[in-house]
Symmetry: C2
Subunit: 275 residues, 2 copies
């Protein structure tokens, strides 16, 4: 999504050229290109698919709508498996129209996970609950903190359900250091699971003022208020050794040449996340 | 601020007409009108000044800027006392330009409180730390949760420093019920303090999409996602018996007739907060 102006083949070639070895994909462009063809393309360019975004939207109360959401998540799990990634990112969904019942909506997410997690596990896919910033709690994601995401994930085996740590959504929360440590300390059935429940680590910076709708204002790494390096160090210390995804939704970046944005992002990543 | 299109005399008369018995005032219009004149006006219309908004902005690192902020807060405390209110609301301030150190900024707020709280207490004014929604953490208020506000307040006697509970800022947080109970359980030096550390209870609804800048999108009571009645019941159960302030920053409401907005707000309040 950081360079969504690029087609999948352009993206794969630009990643290979920039020394990027893995890429998180989104369902819509992959479906449009064809799942098998996308899997082949990434393989041929030597790119690992780090995650598929996104399943979820599991908060509906109407039975038919709820069933459709569960079915669509099964398809997403199959797509992830076909792409060769072990990670499906879940965005929980917001409040149903007219509802004010956040705890109830969160429980419906838990119920849906109980249906989906074993199905995913059989296909080698782990579900990653992504807490989104509290400003999205009403209309997009009722899971707003790493604490809430962990409480949901911890109802299931660590091999089945984990969490996304995304700096954009979590940077303001003083409980995050202790929660990252708790997530990292989880172990699998065999006593080990590197990184515990941290399935994906995503980075973006926080810049203001926020644009209308607050969706497309994520900052390029280093442009904002987030101490990205400290976040990365915490995730490292928790035992996480998986991919780091840069996920910037930003209309300014999308209006530029995708190759240039990718090169700039790699440079910023080295300077502000690794450095 | 809900009806900022009204002058102070218009506001006082409209409140009296609508059965509103108290009003939270903001510093700028009060200063423009004159502190003593505003105090007299409210008294003559039988209105209690429930709080003065706002002091704070205590996160600067530059010594001169920091000193100016402390001095300005002393003036705000004196203004509150002159208006006859026992409550000064504090908005902490955001990160200094270029800083990424949230914990450091929060500590500077604590240091400033240590200077200001005894000064306020001598003048019969309690400082009320207002946690603002996490979407304001970078540019407006580094205190983002009721938990953080309480941890700051609890370093001082409950008669000196408390917290604001504002539904708009806190509605998404699943820890709030337990935190309201904790805030309410605080006692003063003589063993009693009704409502404990809850100094003010403010209500506004959460509506989407958020406008650019995310400042002026607060929803009229009942229009959004917040279970206002449940919030009010929790604050009641915590022993709070003080004023309930409706604080809506909303350009749509400001464009309408102020008297109409006030009447509508009273009706909504009865239906969605009291009811």
């Amino acid at each position: 999504m950081t360079v969504k102006q690029l087609s999948l083949p352009e993206l794969a070639r630009a990643c290979a050229r920039s020394g990027v070895t893995g890429v998180g994909l989104w369902r819509e462009p992959v479906q449009a290109y064809g799942i098998a063809a996308a899997a082949r393309l990434m393989r041929e360019e030597g790119l690992r698919v780090t995650s598929l975004c996104r399943g979820g939207f599991l908060t509906a109360t109407a039975p038919a709508e709820r069933r459709r959401a569960i079915d669509d998540n099964r398809v997403a799990i199959e797509e992830a498996a076909a792409l060769g990634t072990d990670t499906l990112v879940l965005v929980s969904g917001g409040l149903p129209e007219g509802s004010r019942d956040l705890p109830g909506a969160r429980e419906r997410v838990a119920d849906a996970l109980a249906e989906l997690a074993p199905y995913a596990r059989e296909r080698g896919v782990r579900l990653a609950i992504e807490p989104l910033h509290p400003m999205y709690a009403a209309d997009r994601c009722v899971v707003s903190t790493l604490g809430q995401a962990l409480e949901l994930a911890e109802r299931f085996p660590a091999e089945q359900v984990g969490v996304v740590v995304d700096t954009y959504h979590l940077w303001w929360d003083d409980r995050v250091p202790e929660l990252i440590a708790r997530a990292g300390a989880a172990t699998g059935a065999d006593g080990t699971l590197p990184g515990g429940r941290i399935v994906v680590f995503q980075v973006a910076d926080w810049i203001t003022p926020l644009p209308a709708g607050v969706l497309l204002g994520r900052g390029q790494l280093g442009d904002g208020a987030v101490d990205l390096r400290a976040f990365r160090a915490r995730v490292d210390a928790a035992g996480y050794a998986g991919p780091v995804e840069v996920e910037l939704f930003n209309e300014g970046l999308w209006a530029r040449d995708g190759g240039d944005v990718l090169a700039e992002t790699v440079e910023r990543y080295v300077r502000h996340v690794l450095g």
